[in-house]
């Protein structure tokens, strides 16, 4: 079955140029690359592709396991409920949470952040308090805090970056104080690829008793995020950026905050008792999952977790690091191409500018050579304003990319620059 993204390719009659292209051992597990072996998919920060195992799990659920969870007193429903809760346990194990009851399912990272802002922080934030975020944040981990701070008369403090694009940690330490009621930062910047030292960020915040929310959307697929070791208070990530389905995400809540997360939406499936006068609610995570759950999304997420678990992540990190180094060298060797920031702690995400050519034009021409990249502000307007760049072309790598695709990227950029001049 083709997903929507593939259908779009078909409708737009894309014919990628024929390169002699050998799929790497990882990409053979991804049906999209069998369909389009010439596609150099370098937009993994926007969404990853899905392995066959995930697509099969979702298909299998709809074909032979479909029923709504909870309260259905028949085999299919019981089985669906068991699988749904098994997925919660698998996610808990995946990030080293102490229990499945720390794991709530949401629509994605954005909703997870909003839940914490509205259901946890809103009731404890007062005038004179502050929230600390970083300039690297995606709007999803920026606007919910900005809006809440405005509403409560609190201060939004923003950790700056240095000239490389790494967080200015001494400045961060100055920003956190006794009035800090939340520190919210990403693990990896979706625009610059900066890897933030979240262990240090969390440790500093905890010296002031400030809880920390980590946006792990860009890191969850390949980086260890052990809850017991890192001791973050809240963690958010999305299924679709870790080879899983769209529309499903996770909110981890640490033990000490479980009773402080109130309902976010109101509806069925989250109540203890409803009378005409009032309603009492069950606890997190069930109080988060009002209405019908995205059961197939959760099943697909479980399959994605299992897919990642069977990979040798240390080996892949080493390969990705080498590919990232290769990409950096090639990009820097092209006259007219500038990597806007190169953080010292860097993952496989690059934002570049091409002299005199707007990112949209660059992306459109790369597309004609079968290279998929993203152009724009990447939902990080404060960051781009800060570094004085209106928009960038973003290249983001995954384990199924290889050097031949980066060679093609270089050739295509050189041809475009030559054409433009």
């Amino acid at each position: 079955m083709r997903n929507n993204a593939i259908v779009l390719f078909v409708v737009s009659s894309v014919s990628y140029p024929k390169y002699r292209f050998k799929l790497n051992s990882y990409s053979t597990q991804f049906p999209v690359f069998e369909e389009y072996p010439e596609l150099a998919y370098l937009d993994n920060a926007a969404t990853t592709q899905r392995p066959k195992a995930v697509i099969d799990a979702i298909n299998k659920f709809y074909i032979s396991e479909n029923a709504n969870i909870h309260r259905g007193i028949y085999d299919l429903s019981n089985q669906a409920t068991t699988k749904y809760e098994a997925a919660r346990q698998a996610v808990a194990d995946f990030i080293g949470a102490s229990s499945a009851s720390n794991i709530g399912f949401t629509k994605g990272t954005t909703e997870s952040v909003n839940v914490v802002a509205q259901s946890f922080l809103s009731k404890r934030l007062n005038q004179g308090d502050n929230i600390v975020v970083s300039i690297l944040e995606h709007h999803a981990n920026f606007i919910p805090w900005q809006m809440l701070a405005k509403e409560k008369g609190a201060e939004l403090r923003v950790i700056p970056i240095d000239e490389h694009g790494d967080l200015n940690m001494p400045a961060y330490k100055e920003l956190v104080d006794q009035n800090t009621k939340m520190v919210a930062v990403n693990h990896i910047s979706n625009t610059l690829g900066t890897i933030n030292d979240i262990a240090e960020i969390i440790a500093v915040a905890h010296t002031k008793d400030a809880p920390v929310m980590i946006d792990a959307a860009q890191s969850v697929s390949m980086y260890p995020l052990d809850a017991q070791y890192l001791k973050y208070d809240f963690l958010a990530f999305s299924g679709h950026k870790m080879y899983g389905p769209f529309g499903i995400g996770v909110l981890y809540v640490a033990d000490q905050h479980l009773s402080e997360i109130g309902p976010y939406n109101y509806g069925g499936g989250m109540i203890k008792e409803v009378t005409i006068e009032e309603t009492t609610f069950v606890k997190f995570p069930k109080n988060l999952e009002a209405g019908t759950s995205n059961v197939a999304g959760v099943i697909g997420l479980h399959a994605a977790v299992e897919y990642i678990n069977q990979l040798d992540r240390a080996q892949i990190q080493s390969e990705l690091s080498e590919l990232s180094q290769y990409t950096e060298e090639l990009l820097q060797s092209i006259p007219g191409v500038k990597v806007v920031r190169l953080p010292k702690h860097h993952s496989g995400i690059f934002s570049i500018e091409v002299e005199d050519i707007h990112p949209h034009d660059v992306a459109s021409f790369l597309n004609k050579d079968g290279i998929a990249v993203r152009a724009g502000m990447h939902c990080t307007q404060p960051l781009l304003t800060d570094i004085g760049v209106p928009a960038t072309v973003r290249i983001s790598l995954a384990h199924y990319n290889d050097k031949s695709q980066i060679d093609r990227l270089k050739a295509s950029l050189i041809e475009l620059i030559d054409f433009w001049s």
Binding site: S12, H360, D361, S364, N367, K368, Q381, L384, P390, F419
Partner: protein, 143 residues
């Protein structure tokens, strides 16, 4: 569109207009209209000097891709000297043509090219950006 077709369109029409846009400067004007696409960051301001409801002098300035800049440049050049009503109708006709993919309803070759560029995947917003902003401004002004 094939790569060769895109290259040819860029070479013949888009790049010349992009490299030498018409009346591309900030000016003190009677009216200005902002055209902004928050998804990509393209941002232009169109400046109008009116003489008896006539768009006597039109300028623009800002940042954007080659297509949005070329499209805005063509728009500015074409509407100069029109009345506000004529400009509103002109924008409306162009937007209708682009929304229906019917370049034949337009007589202006440059506009036909812009409508054809609609088939350049994902770029229709770049073409329409300033046209929509100006149309909304004039429509609200007259209503």
């Amino acid at each position: 569109m094939t790569k060769e077709e895109i290259q040819s369109l860029y070479k013949d029409k888009i790049l010349p207009e992009n490299k030498a846009p018409y009346h591309f400067e900030k000016v003190d004007a009677d009216h200005s209209v902002k055209a902004y696409n928050p998804m990509c960051g393209d941002k232009y301001e169109l400046y109008f000097e009116n003489d008896d409801q006539l768009l006597d002098q039109v300028h623009f300035h800002g940042i954007g891709c080659a297509i949005s800049k070329a499209s805005t440049s063509i728009l500015v050049r074409r509407i100069e000297g029109m009345t506000e009503e004529e400009a509103e109708e002109y924008c409306k006709k162009f937007l209708e043509a682009i929304n229906s993919s019917d370049p034949d309803s337009l007589s202006d070759e440059d506009l036909k090219i812009l409508v054809e560029l609609k088939n350049f995947e994902g770029r229709v917003d770049c073409i329409k950006l300033s046209w929509e902003a100006l149309y909304d401004f004039l429509k609200n002004k007259t209503s």
